[in-house]
Symmetry: C2
């Protein structure tokens, strides 16, 4: 594995790269955008983040970065020092789901910290399948992503990176509890399994609350597009395990992938079938109107555009729209977001100008499929 | 003048004919769709409508019809017996503003009567500029219409028809009061002058109430698209005089055409200028979104489509849309209405099917201007 220098990863084709969660292929990709596995790890002999001084953090950062470089692997790795990165760069990393919002801000959940805190992220620049955040809530957060429903593959890749790191550094580990983490909910395997789902059918049929209640009963969290505390935009939801202790990775994975998700996926598919038959004309109208607004609007807010794109994607998946590739709708879901939009236009903009630029970008992207 | 037989005026190219109020030319046609003059007349020696028996009505109808035929004129006249016309035919006549809703139903304002009451309408089939309703609220209601602001021309044509009729029949007339009418508000000249205005600028800037209050203070009525008691759809409003007695035709006309309307027209134009400058981007967005929905929707309700077409027309008048002729938007304002829509599709439809057929019709009409 090799890394680039800190600062802007100039070689990354930001606007064109399909992040894994938007590739629109893989198992059950009509409903499951992507699968993600995250492992929380901490270095032995260093205080956990909430108690780490800036000097500690800097030391942790330097050590981790060096170790990450040593991981063997064919894909080029980009390293970004977030404390020196621009706001726009950090926003783009959040939008691509390579770092958390919290990591972008540099604040711990306690509110301590700020943008100047030493922290960074490494990720495989081509596929963006593997990302390792350094000095987020834990010293290391290894994140592995796959398109579609593929938690086992994502887990295998995360484990591989984890093993490679563990071969050269000591992780904080307790024989009884397992891996030790800053937040007790992560102690044990330190794992979070999550899937990003596209659930427009359930939303249109007002069935989402049922899913949320069922998920809560099974100790699963249903979160919005950007994870904790964020709203659902574009009908995109993340479902993940809430606790890690007392269950092996294999059990957690089996429960989610084989017991819970098939039900949610089937529920969403049934909703779509219902919409396509009983309210077929209404759904068709809604899909085409969304396309009409996307094609003609001169001002578009981020959330509205994501909701319209969500309905468009539903129409494409259901065959109501047959001349626009799904990847176009998926790519736009990313490109309409503020950071990507700003980069595409090449200049900082206020919200009003962004709305105009966003509408222009969407119109241009859809123009070939008239 | 010659007339066709009763029943369906099969020679009238209903769908293509531009009624005068949609021709989109004439003075101030950016704001004034059309000008209309209506004269109320009654035959001497017959009871007024509220007291007329069915036998009286039949006699009045026969006499009037015969006399109307004798009016000299070059344009072919269509006669329709409304008591034998289909509901669809009557609806179309209402939508073309050739008869009132009340006349279509055959009911007097007191609620007496019904569809079988002997009554009819004669109109010039090509231009639809002149229409004479028989046995509406009065025995005769002569209506003359012109595109744009042209009350004097409309009045001259109405007077001409009035004079021609008066040469062969005796009208109920009192030396002191003038022409006698069923409703006292029409006694005197029996005249109503009205203009159909397109006021999207005032509506978008929430200034319509001011116009309504000012109009009321000047004894003018502001009514919706179909006249008395109807809602404004498509931002179309009719402004007319409320009383007739004590003022000559010339005075009424002068007040409306030279004193009041110039102010309303300028007020609307100022609103549009304001929208185009201060909120230019917002207006542009709204116009294009309306076009987007019109071009893509698969279901359209009548009122929604008229509102969208109204915004589209505003966009065309302001030059925001430059590839769609105004006459297309205007023609659609007529064609999306239930009667015309039903005739275009050639079969009776329930409301759901009408919404689908309406969307199809609009899409087809706008397709050449992509």
């Amino acid at each position: 594995m090799s890394t680039e220098g800190p600062g802007e990863p100039s070689g990354v084709p930001w606007q064109d790269a399909q992040t894994e969660w938007l590739r629109a292929d893989g198992q059950c990709c009509d409903v499951v955008m992507s699968s993600r596995v995250r492992l929380a790890r901490n270095l032995a002999g260093f205080p956990f983040m909430p108690r780490a001084s800036r000097a500690d953090r800097r030391q942790i950062l330097d050590l981790c970065r060096r170790k990450i470089v040593e991981i063997p692997g064919r894909e080029r790795v980009v390293w970004v020092d977030l404390h020196t990165a621009s706001t726009e760069q950090r926003t783009i990393l959040v939008e691509r789901h390579l770092i958390s919002k919290q990591h972008a801000r540099g604040k711990l959940s306690s509110g301590v910290g700020g943008p100047e805190e030493p922290r960074g992220v490494a990720f495989t620049s081509q596929s963006e399948r593997l990302a390792i955040m350094v000095n987020e809530e834990d010293h290391l957060r290894i994140q592995s992503m796959r398109a579609g429903l593929a938690l086992a593959e994502a887990l295998a890749a995360a484990d591989q990176a984890d093993d490679a790191l563990e071969a050269t550094v000591d992780f904080a580990f307790d024989r009884r509890f397992g891996y030790l983490t800053a937040c007790p909910t992560n102690v044990g395997t330190g794992i979070r399994l999550s899937v990003m789902l596209h659930l427009p059918g359930l939303r249109l049929r007002n069935e989402l609350d049922k899913v949320k209640r069922a998920a809560a009963a099974m100790s699963l969290a249903v979160r919005g597009f950007y994870g904790e505390g964020s709203n659902a935009v574009g009908d995109l939801y993340q479902i993940s395990n809430q606790t890690t202790m007392g269950k092996t990775e294999a059990v957690l994975l089996h429960e989610l992938q084989n017991e819970i998700l098939p039900q949610v996926i089937e529920y969403e598919r049934a909703s779509r079938r219902m919409l396509a038959t009983r309210g077929g004309a209404v759904l068709k109208d809604r899909v085409h109107r969304s396309l009409g607004v996307l094609r003609h609007a001169r001002l578009l807010a981020a959330e509205e555009s994501m909701d319209l794109l969500s309905t468009l994607r539903l129409g494409i998946v259901l065959g109501i729209i047959d001349n626009i590739p799904e990847r176009v709708a998926n790519a736009l879901l990313l490109l309409v977001q503020p950071g990507h939009l700003q980069r595409a236009t090449g200049r900082p903009m206020d919200q009003d100008h962004r709305r105009g630029a966003r509408a222009d970008l969407v119109r241009t992207a859809l123009a070939p499929y008239c």
